[in-house]
């Protein structure tokens, strides 16, 4: 008896899906993604690889692969699925890794990853769903859009002179020496669908046998983006698209490569090893013993680019490193070299740091008004906020926070240059947190400041900031 029914490689119920219909897909009626999903799931069953499969979803309508496939799942950044698949495969050589991608994902933003993964002959399987449009974002032109095809970005139809020609990825990749199997199939007629079914199985089998890179381009439909009913869309695929995207096998070395030829593994992701590597990147200072730290510091320093905000963060991190503490420094700045906004997050901790981001600082420094407006609310209750009162006119909430209004830029000018305002602030940070002895900070600054001529000025700036908080002057 033969029964055609829902594959066990699909979740029984699509729990992760939002909305009520948890057994139907999120795809539009007649969308080709559904057919292709079904054939992949069936191939997983029959090759008995579901348990070891990792499905890498792209950005695009098929972003939610993890709603459906009851296997390992990843969702990659737009176009990066083959890079993610490479990492998964090399670190887990036993996994069957599927990179499932649309034409916008694979042939536009992800062209480079696509070509290089193919060129390296990664032992992965790429299913390329060519529906000649960006479905998810509402029907913009894709690299595979047909000449004359209307889309929201080619309202008069794609024109060679303006937009170039549709790209034939299968043919292009077939020029590379490494790939083992490249075929273009379609989900148009029943006969074509059954050929697609065969190609999907073959591609996965090649990977299972360690025979290398397999790529199946599947010409598919997007009834919604094409503004056609599902039946008309299948007809258009068959009658029009296939003229530009001819079906066929463009490369097949599967009978000529030995099993296991393309098996390769990389042990870099063994957690112990990663830790070993990280420990090798230890502090450049000779840390003999770890200093006491009363409280972990989660700092955000923010201002304009050019005010020395990022350097302030670096100095504090270096002090923490020298003290034998765990540190992270994470800069964020706009594209402008000067004048744009800039901030950095610094963690100093007695324990290993999980994330370098600081969403809820217990120490905030603001060197301009926009930063006060943006970050004050994020500071934890009772946290400290240091405001460069020379520049910032607004007042921070002194009831909720420990507010230090420090005329840092003026004080720096007294020392000789506004440039050392960040070191004045460093003095205030150290004093307000009692994290480190001032002498220890001074000796660290002496070690890290490269220009000898600037050291005295920096020492003076640091002391001014420190004394301001400790003695109020």
């Amino acid at each position: 008896m033969k029964v055609f029914e829902k594959s066990p490689s699909f979740y029984e119920v699509f729990e992760r899906k939002s909305g009520p219909a948890k057994e139907a897909t999120h795809y539009c009626p007649g969308c080709g993604h559904g057919n292709i999903h079904k054939m992949i799931a069936e191939a997983m069953d029959d090759l008995e690889i579901t348990e070891r499969s990792v499905f890498v979803s792209p950005v695009g309508c098929s972003v939610f692969g993890y709603y459906y496939f009851d296997c390992g799942n990843f969702q990659a950044a737009h176009g990066r699925a083959p890079a993610v698949a490479t990492a998964v495969k090399r670190s887990n050589p036993d996994a069957i890794v599927i990179s499932y991608q649309g034409d916008g994902d694979l042939a536009a933003i992800g062209t480079a990853e696509t070509i290089h993964a193919a060129n390296r002959g990664e032992n992965i399987t790429v299913f390329f769903v060519n529906n000649a449009i960006y479905g998810m974002t509402g029907g913009q032109m894709a690299p595979t859009t047909m000449i004359g095809q209307r889309s929201t970005t080619t309202p008069l139809g794609r024109a060679e002179q303006i937009h170039g020609n549709p790209i034939r990825m299968a043919e292009m990749l077939a020029t590379l020496p490494a790939p083992t199997y490249i075929e273009r199939v379609a989900v148009g007629t029943s006969k074509q669908i059954m050929k697609t079914r065969k190609a999907i199985r073959k591609a996965l089998k090649i990977q299972k046998e360690g025979k290398g890179y397999s790529f199946v381009e599947i010409v598919s439909t997007c009834p919604t983006g094409w503004k056609m009913d599902p039946v008309a869309a299948r007809d258009w695929l068959v009658d029009d698209m296939l003229k530009v995207f001819p079906l066929g096998v463009f490369k097949d070395e599967s009978d000529n490569v030995d099993e296991g030829t393309w098996d390769r593994s990389f042990e870099g992701f063994v957690p112990d090893k990663v830790n070993t590597y990280l420990d090798r990147m230890k502090s450049p200072f000779d840390v003999t013993e770890e200093l006491d730290l009363v409280k972990d510091l989660n700092c955000k320093f923010a201002g304009f680019g050019g005010q020395g905000i990022l350097t302030l963060g670096l100095f504090l991190s270096q002090i923490g490193m020298r003290a034998g503490h765990q540190v992270s420094w994470f800069p964020a700045y706009g594209p402008e070299m000067r004048g744009g906004t800039a901030n950095c997050s610094v963690n100093i901790s007695r324990d290993r740091i999980g994330s370098p981001l600081v969403d809820r600082p217990n120490m905030l420094v603001v060197m301009n008004q926009p930063s006060l407006d943006a970050f004050e609310k994020d500071v934890v209750d009772g946290g400290t906020i240091i405001v460069d009162s020379t520049i910032v006119e607004g007042k921070a909430d002194a009831k909720r926070l420990n507010v230090v209004a420090l005329p840092a830029s003026d004080m720096a000018d007294e020392v000789g240059t506004t440039k050392v305002a960040n070191v004045v602030i460093l003095g205030a940070v150290v004093a307000a947190t009692d994290a480190y002895e001032p002498e220890f900070v001074e000796s660290t600054l002496r070690a890290v400041i490269k220009k000898q001529s600037l050291i005295d000025m920096n020492m003076e700036a640091f002391r001014k900031g420190y004394d301001f908080v400790k003695n109020g002057n």
């Binding site: 008896m1 029964v3 219909a21 057994e23 559904g34 057919n35 029943s190």
Partner: protein, 76 residues
Amino acid sequence: MAAKTAVDVPFMEVNGELCKGCQLCVGVCPKTVIAVSEKLNSASYHPAYYTGADCTGCGLCFYACPEPAAIRVVKP
């Protein structure tokens, strides 16, 4: 649905609630034994259904259907 449940003849059945009324199955059936209901399902689609006889169990409708669980075909 008027699905035959006897196991000695092939049949297909549609889960009307999961069908999106795309009609792709209708066109591929060599025996033209799939029709579309006049009624709407709760997602506001007109679901397909088996007219009740002459299915050969070829499975073409199953592969033409984009939904994982809308169609089931049994070929004894």
